[in-house]
Symmetry: D2
Subunit: 250 residues, 4 copies
Amino acid sequence: MFTKNHIMKDIQKQEDTRRINIKKVGVKTINYPITVLDKAHSRQHTIATVNMYVNLPHHFKGTHMSRFVEILNRFHGAIDIGKFKSILEEMKEKLEAEAAHLEMSFIYFLQRKKDNPECLKSCRYECSIHGSLETEDDLELQVVIPVSTPFREDECKGLPRSLGRWGKTIAAVRFRNFIWIEDIITLIEQAVEEEHEETNAGGEHHVMSVESLTRRIGKSLETERAIRSFTLTVENFADGYSTFATTGTN
Amino acid sequence: MFTKNHIMKDIQKQEDTRRINIKKVGVKTINYPITVLDKAHSRQHTIATVNMYVNLPHHFKGTHMSRFVEILNRFHGAIDIGKFKSILEEMKEKLEAEAAHLEMSFIYFLQRKKDNPECLKSCRYECSIHGSLETEDDLELQVVIPVSTPFREDECKGLPRSLGRWGKTIAAVRFRNFIWIEDIITLIEQAVEEEHEETNAGGEHHVMSVESLTRRIGKSLETERAIRSFTLTVENFADGYSTFATTGTN
Amino acid sequence: MFTKNHIMKDIQKQEDTRRINIKKVGVKTINYPITVLDKAHSRQHTIATVNMYVNLPHHFKGTHMSRFVEILNRFHGAIDIGKFKSILEEMKEKLEAEAAHLEMSFIYFLQRKKDNPECLKSCRYECSIHGSLETEDDLELQVVIPVSTPFREDECKGLPRSLGRWGKTIAAVRFRNFIWIEDIITLIEQAVEEEHEETNAGGEHHVMSVESLTRRIGKSLETERAIRSFTLTVENFADGYSTFATTGTN
Amino acid sequence: MFTKNHIMKDIQKQEDTRRINIKKVGVKTINYPITVLDKAHSRQHTIATVNMYVNLPHHFKGTHMSRFVEILNRFHGAIDIGKFKSILEEMKEKLEAEAAHLEMSFIYFLQRKKDNPECLKSCRYECSIHGSLETEDDLELQVVIPVSTPFREDECKGLPRSLGRWGKTIAAVRFRNFIWIEDIITLIEQAVEEEHEETNAGGEHHVMSVESLTRRIGKSLETERAIRSFTLTVENFADGYSTFATTGTN
């Protein structure tokens, strides 16, 4: 289909393409078992989807992708949040990169003490961590917290009926000091509970608004000293679409 | 890696494998634009995911998969539910098959007349049709209908807040006579509305149960003469899990 | 919107609906950390999506869904395949059911000894187990195994380029005797490797066909004494669609 | 659970939350039938997922989300890319917003003239458009193009076997002049074909590398005068993970 002349032209073209700089290069969507440090139990086992990539200096021609895998394999079975900086440093050095990036998304389980063994409350949170290292390292944690309209009938009698899924909050935070994932979850869930209580004060059955809930949780995150900056989105699931509001620092 | 002896053994093995009969063979997950007949507007454009496959007689060795594509391409741009039987007959004949199967899943839009232009009600339904032809043809239609807890505050004032997504109903029906997709949707949505009204009769704020809603919709489907048989599942979304109940003829 | 007469009519209707029998009732899509027995390491931690449901006798009116949760919570943190029968027995008894069903789907990781630390081979398999108990118990295991066209260049030199994802095999098996998940994976992956070798014997670059690979794996599953019955589907990913073939016992 | 004092405290807290500014507010994930202008056929029907949101001035307290729906409903059935600016202007004005955003993602079908009716080539592309209007309007188009390793056996004989899915390219472009979606697709697919030809020149069976393909497509996009700026990612699917490279202007 392609003539020799065509191939010749291509080779010339290829020479031109050498000036097109690759900005980032890496491996994506690796599924990996990891352990996460956990306030209550010290370690929990979960499964992460991992992305690893680097920014290359302009003069660099290609990279050895197998080195990503090599680094990851060495940490296999013992990757946790505390290791982020070490992995990033090793990536930056071994790949002679200007900057290194490590992203992990995973499901975090929160086990709650229950007075009532019949209850099953949501204990599953989608988390992701994006760490990067150029001259300084940077770490952003994102947590997705489901929000439901609390059930107002006597919950003890029979079947656990649900008013349905009201929506979710997505909080992405950067830290000043260390803070446990469960502390962020608790902080947000308390703000949600307060909003529910207030919306329904006086026995009336009102529905929370995304704007008001966004402001309340935003206030809680702003007040927490360990959090340096944040972005917050609150989403209310409607029939066939969602409404949402976003706030954040700066 | 493999020695000659190994290959020899394999060839003998391969002869054995001739006795392993292929039961079904076909193409899957083809995305195709289709048109659906629509009670109100006569034709609506949507996108289907198509599976086509056949059961082969035991003596048959292999099939020409390209023929599936050939048949599909001839109907391209004009596939609709009315063509199911013709496509199935052509598949059965051209592929010399014992039985032919055609599955299409698509999103069906229902446009409603609105007094209030500010409202946006769900008008999107996941449908799928499974047609098969052996000696007789058979057609099953499945519709997924979202269920939300209706909003009880004055809807005219401001923002369309939502109590959230209560759940969904999944109905799979076989027909005695022709019936429009929108008639099945209307039948189920009316049963849901009646259940809501009754659950909240007397101004009390109760929550529908899956068992009761399953029975009510089941009754409606059983009473509809055009429906020969059905399976119905009602699902209530809770915080982190769902509860469900299933009924149906058989 | 609804008059009193309407409500009256509804109540009569509701009485009618009592004759509509609920066939199955339960909880779905619960995310749960589980441990899986593992030939090499004895236990591995993963995350399951769990469905639990029962068939109810006709005279039974409603069920206590909270009991599902109660049973699940008692096994929390220690659910594994070996516990399936105990959980099913407890479900059947506590819910006074005719039959009990437990479904778990999870990602199973297979760690391989590596001579070459630079390699990262797929070690992630989607598994699901469906257990049921009526008078006898029944257990079906399904494993999805990705198939790639093996890379033919010298893998040691540089970047791990891939010819892409050829497809996948989906095997669902019932057992005569106990068999490890990794033994089924190994059995299937060996058949895939043999098929690759044979297709490319003589240095020619051919592409495997779904029919031939289906027959070869089918033969291997049929020959394995520990497997009582199976269904097997082999899928070849093409550009925009897939082709597939299915075989199985009986 | 909450005492009066608690509620009192909350009300004070709520006053504080007034200082938390909502940055963005809107509706998301609305499914809508749209028509797309198409070089060959002038109009094609497809289904879009729509997000609409605005940036609010700081002093603004709340917004009327129903107005988003009102605007969308007025354009219903006749939304196309050419209407982006009009919709954005109406959003900005009606919602008294500082900036308006409209995002649509949809499947775009490309019908090709075929000499051989037996062939089915991929004709399905995931597109998304993000339009925004502050003082100036801005439009970014993203197209995902699947890449497969071309089949090297005689394609006419029998079954359409596939070497599998090699990967995909994701191009996001901003325009200087108008350019058809199909022209961007053609430009990228030609670059892919040239890369394939060159990699396999001399009858050898090599595998394309993400870096080289990224450079070649990057060169093509850079050379196209109608494109003002772009970001390009090329992804190669491996067994259990992907490798990728990114380039772009700026």
